[in-house]
Symmetry: C2
Subunit: 311 residues, 2 copies
């Protein structure tokens, strides 16, 4: 297969498959579009958690234990900020701080998030193209019984414990897909939905004006990998959130969410019995081993997707 | 003696005497007004080198080897910023970065530099009052044969090597002395000019509208300590700069600069032979040991100043 591949991803889970794809696809053919609904301001600095997780993962810098941040990073600046009375519940290492300082400075000078992301990735030797979903502000706001929470407040500060009653992508209506996303949507022959949280990671991207329409009309093959295996998320609160939102917590629930624009849903071996229900939704189920632990798991799944797209 | 003491200071040299004063004067009686003409933006963060040197010195955090920064600080974030292609000639440690991040955030939220300085000092346990000379922007610009330089470009990047042809305090005309400086000028019974660089450290303060007039009319006793001993600066480029500006590089030159508002100039033992010339300028010379190395040197000089003010 030739032609460009566009992969949509959020943070840790999506970065696993993106890494697998990056290991078998040449840089000029792969564009990884990352959720920025989690972006937030900490200590006056612009933090893009999912973009950073993706960038650090592809640069070989990510911390395999935590999934976020840079392996071996120190927390000297954050500890000093605590001494200054700063609200320091969001962990930021010293090397990580440099990323946010640099990003904030360049944005302040008028660069777009797409431009800044390209510059940061190039500096770290990331050869594949990582792009933000939008250069405009979109913020995922979670309605809970205790009030509205930002993504990081919910996910980090409150450990994803509150019940989610509603999800709003604030700013999405007025936001535009980033220019490199628009190009990639036009050019792609294969579009991959990484196994990221549907509501929190892929939801903000799909909420951008025109994205779902582009997906529906795109001639590209569209393949999603289920983030739900055996009735719960492989990682993170995706299952809990789907249940709270009244969705079926299974790969069938995922197929329901993506059925309007998705050709194939790759589900795990243990969910193969659900294939007929997915088929009934108009999505072609493909059964595979989709839990990625080792690097070879990631490469194997990426290879399966490419093989599928080659028919 | 009762009543408030106001000390004017720049960075390292001034901080020595300020530390001496702080060790013998109760917190509620000492206000240390610091030059902000060196303030600059690095990586989009507001850096106040002299305020930080003073704060770190009084907090017991300063690096005795370099005079700037925090003892034992690490440079993890700066090294990462270098990897991102940032211009990183100005050394900033990880703990130091926290100071600039916090200051920039609070200023961005609308706090004044005076308010931010108070908050930072309180967090670090600095009990005496440290204030910026102004909450408005004043930037010392040095005219050199190679073009205009900011203070840090001149002092750090070019190691104080270029010939200085002119000094401009950009913004000084429109700037106001900080509210706590105005109060201290009104209240002080003793005003001390620490042995700081006259052009680069005290010059910006004296250039603020109304400061020299306040000094002239203030009933406080005004005592300067000469930064020049034996024909050169005790530390730094003050001697070289005075020569380049056509000033006499001696404590007599210092007396000439301060004679309009200064009652006493404390000069070093080795300069005692210059006393008559200082006297001729209308400034009372007092000979003492003014080179401060140990903490006891700093305390002894501070005690001498207090004794002088007590008559």
């Amino acid at each position: 297969m030739d032609g460009k591949i566009l992969a949509f991803a959020g943070g840790v889970g999506g970065a696993k498959l993106a890494l697998g794809l990056s290991l078998i696809i040449p840089p000029e053919r792969l564009v990884i579009c990352v959720n920025t609904g989690d972006d937030d301001s900490f200590h006056g600095l612009h933090v893009s958690p999912d973009l950073d997780t993706m960038m650090y993962t592809l640069a070989g810098l990510s911390d395999p234990q935590f999934g976020w941040g840079i392996q071996g990073d120190t927390f000297t600046a954050l500890n000093m900020l605590k001494q200054y009375g700063a609200d320091a519940w969001f962990n930021l290492g010293d090397r990580d701080f440099a990323t946010h300082i640099r990003r904030t400075q360049l944005l302040g000078q008028g660069a777009t998030l797409s431009q800044v992301t390209r510059e940061l990735c190039e500096s770290l030797g990331v050869r594949h193209t990582v792009i933000p979903m939008s250069d405009d502000s979109v913020r995922t706001v979670l309605g809970t019984p205790g009030g509205d929470l930002s993504m990081q407040e919910y996910f980090v500060r409150q450990r994803a414990e509150p019940v989610i009653q509603s999800i709003t992508y604030v700013g999405a209506e007025a936001a535009r897909p980033s220019p490199p996303l628009v190009s990639a949507l036009n050019d792609a022959v294969l579009i991959v939905f990484c196994p990221s949280n549907p509501a929190l990671s892929l939801g903000p991207i799909l909420a951008l004006p025109g994205v779902v329409d582009s997906l529906k009309t795109s001639p590209a093959m569209k393949i999603a990998v289920s983030p739900i295996v055996g009735g719960d998320a492989v990682k993170g609160p995706a299952g809990k959130i789907m249940a709270e939102l009244g969705q079926e917590v299974s790969c069938v629930g995922i197929a329901s969410l993506y059925k309007d624009f998705c050709d194939i849903l790759v589900i795990d071996n243990q969910d193969s019995y659900l294939s007929p229900q997915i088929d009934d939704l108009g999505v072609r189920p493909v059964v595979d081993s989709i839990i990625m632990q080792s690097e070879s798991d990631k490469v194997a799944l990426a290879q399966s997707l490419i093989a599928l797209s080659n028919g």
